[in-house]
């Protein structure tokens, strides 16, 4: 199955498509967790990030306990400031 992850903020530049709209299509198997899914993205390990799953913020220590389904909305952001 496939799922679309949105990656925004500074993290966008770590993604393969570079400057595209921030939507990335990933393959996943039933029963996989958010943690397993996110490991498929080239996210920097030293940077804190924020994960939204169906409009709920998921604490990083809960990623391995959160199963995913086909139509879930998943957004990964880097905390930024200013503007």
């Amino acid at each position: 199955m496939q799922i679309t992850i949105k990656v925004f903020g500074k993290l966008r530049h770590y993604m393969p498509a570079g400057r595209s709209a921030g939507n990335y299509l990933l393959n996943f198997k039933l029963g996989e967790t958010l943690e397993q899914l996110l490991k498929k993205l080239p996210l920097p390990k030293d940077r804190p990030y924020l994960v939204l799953h169906n409009d709920n913020k998921i604490d990083l220590d809960q990623l391995s306990l959160t199963p995913i389904s086909e139509n879930d909305e998943i957004i990964v952001l880097a905390p930024v400031k200013g503007g």
């Binding site: 949105k6 925004f8 903020g9 500074k10 530049h13 709209a21 930024v80």
Partner: protein, 605 residues
């Protein structure tokens, strides 16, 4: 040392321009720029004066690092009493003007009185003159710079000007320098206009001296190497934020009726960088201010076939484009997802001299008034001022810029506008200054920061971002807001920009640069106390101006109407719980007045 130790005092009433020594005791206590300018203003002026009266003063201030080799050392500020807020105003700009003023030999220019006729101030090092401005009065910022540049034939001369908005006393008129950088907030351009001062033209060749240049340059290079996370800011500018705030539900939309905008993908960095159906790309390149090694500025072009400019070739050139705040205010706040229309409204802000945040916030408030029928096409001169209408945004922005028809009401700012039409709760402002692009329900710390900021709602005077993105719980927010307000007060007084803080620098890097540039020893304790002193001095100004605890609040919508989506779903801003803790941490009494021992500790009694 990096202070020039000189002030230029310009009395517009008498026409006298005098050079005075800088008060070095104050420089050591308030550093420069925001802090030092505020100190001079409070010492020299009764804060209760009318902001647009002859008694108000305008302080143009550089910092000790302005004009040096330090990265981002091009910042300068305008300090005055703000006509939008009736509170202290300190509006910060970049570009190249501030460095040029410093290189001409001045830390501060204090402008007082009022000229009988329109004038501009011409500075070339110690040669200072007030000149007849009749050929540029009534002209736009862009026309004015062009005419004076031609007159002096000096490509390195820099200008800070008002447009027609400042001349017409628009309450959020700004002072624009280098065509598209601006001291934007609180209406400092209207103060300049009230004094019949059109432009400050400056050329400086004196340079900035440093007691130990070798040591200073080593510090500059070392600190510069630590700015190691700037790629995103260079590539996407501040606009990167729009996807973040939209995702978490903190993007004020349709005058804060919503916190998420369905049109964000038409305004975000990808939209700016991707060719449209005509093959036109909005973003041309990035731009940098004096000495900046980030380059967050957006240089953009409007699609020449777009309805806003198709018969106006003067707008087919590249100029300052949408940043996050202007994209929020001229886009989401008005429900408009047309990037060219918002870019055009932004161009008008640069050309005529208006703050895009307050312009967008005021138009959004008017759109809500129109939506409920409190104003109609009779008031607007036939414009259907509907949320989402790019045509209405374009037309009303033009009318406001030129002070035409209903544009005169928009030029009052949302507070006065909504009071006039009987719905003051529709003004999304604090102390009369419109919100920046964050919602205080999903970002509780930002709510407190808006409410307590000395110049009204603003996103640049506290740093609750990381905390707010991590939690909506309010525990610890008061301390984060208070401490970051003090730290930013110091940075705003140094001549440096805040953005390196998001690109790898820490507070220690700023401190190292100030310590390398200024005489005496600057350590972290002194940094924090200097910042706290500046914050409390501004508070004293406001209390003397007649503001009180009642002004440390938020619109009813943010305090009583829960957010519908996002991380703040179901929440209102819990300001009432955070404010007492904030006052206590500040050493203020329950009414928000600094206690005697706080003032004594900071040397403010």
């Amino acid at each position: 040392m990096s202070w020039q130790q000189k002030i230029l005092r310009v009395n517009l009433t008498t026409g006298c321009c005098n050079i005075e020594p800088l008060n070095m005791t104050w420089a050591n206590e308030y550093l420069g720029q925001r802090g030092l300018g505020s100190k001079y203003l409070l010492e020299e002026m009764d804060p209760a004066v009318d902001a647009l009266s002859v008694e108000n003063k305008l302080v143009i201030a550089t910092g000790p690092l302005t004009g040096t080799m330090a990265s981002t050392g091009g910042r300068w500020s305008v300090i005055t009493k703000g006509p939008l807020t009736d509170a202290i105003a300190c509006s910060n700009s970049g570009g190249k003007f501030g460095a040029e003023l410093k290189l001409a030999g001045y830390d501060l220019v204090i402008i007082e009185g009022k000229s009988e006729k329109a004038v501009y101030l011409h500075i070339e090092n110690e040669k200072v003159e007030l000149c007849d401005a009749s050929e540029v009065w009534g002209k736009t910022v862009w026309e004015t710079e062009g005419l004076l540049q031609k007159k002096y034939s000096d490509p390195l001369m820099r200008f800070a000007s008002i447009g027609q908005a400042g001349e017409n006393l628009c309450r959020y008129a700004c002072i624009v320098n280098d065509l598209h950088r601006a001291a934007g907030r609180s209406g400092v351009g209207a103060v300049m206009g009230s004094k019949n001062l059109k432009t400050i033209a400056v050329r400086g060749t004196v340079g900035v001296k440093n007691a130990n240049p070798e040591h200073f340059m080593k510090t500059v290079n070392a600190v510069n190497n630590r700015m190691n996370d700037r790629e995103g800011m260079s590539r996407d500018g501040t606009l990167d934020m729009i996807d973040v705030t939209n995702s978490i539900g903190s993007l004020p939309t349709r005058n804060n009726r919503q916190v998420r905008f369905e049109g964000t993908e038409k305004l975000n960095p990808s939209a700016m960088q991707t060719p449209n159906e005509n093959g036109h790309t909005n973003l041309i390149t990035n731009g940098a201010c004096f000495g900046c090694t980030i380059g967050c500025g957006r240089i953009c072009k409007i699609d020449p076939t777009h309805f806003s400019v198709k018969d106006k070739p003067q707008y087919h050139k590249a100029s300052g484009g949408l940043e996050y705040e202007s994209a929020y205010a001229l886009g989401a706040a008005c429900g408009v997802d047309d990037i060219d229309a918002a870019t055009y409204a932004g161009f008008l802000c640069n050309e005529y001299g208006m703050d895009p945040i307050s312009l967008g916030g005021s138009i959004a408030a008017a759109m809500e008034l129109f939506d409920i029928g409190a104003i109609t096409e009779k008031h607007t001169g036939g414009i259907k001022l509907e949320f989402g209408s790019a045509q209405a945004l374009v037309t009303i922005s033009e009318m406001t810029a030129r002070s035409e028809g209903f544009g005169q009401d928009i030029a009052m700012g949302s507070k006065r506008l909504t009071q006039k039409y009987g719905h003051p709760d529709f003004s999304m402002s604090v102390k009369g200054q419109e919100f920046a692009g964050y919602d205080g329900r999903s970002m509780q710390g930002m709510g407190l920061a808006y409410a307590t900021n000395n110049r009204g709602a603003c996103h640049m005077r506290a740093d609750p971002y990381e905390s707010d993105f991590n939690t909506t719980e309010i525990e610890g927010k008061a301390a984060i807001v208070k401490n970051s307000q003090d730290e930013i007060s110091f940075i705003d007084s140094s001549g440096l920009c805040l953005f390196p803080g998001g690109c790898g620098w820490t507070l220690s890097d700023y401190l190292e640069l100030v310590d390398g540039a200024c005489e005496g020893t600057w350590d972290m304790d002194r940094l924090k106390q200097t910042g706290e002193r500046i914050w409390n001095l501004e508070r004293q100004f406001n209390l003397l101006a007649g503001l009180s605890k009642a002004d440390d609040t938020l619109p009813k919508r943010i305090l009583e109407e829960p957010a519908e989506v996002g991380i703040g779903k179901g929440l209102v801003c819990r300001l009432g719980e955070m404010l007492p803790e904030y006052y206590e941490l500040r050493g203020w009494d329950e009414e928000g007045r600094p206690k005697a021992d706080t003032l004594a500790r900071l040397g403010l009694n």
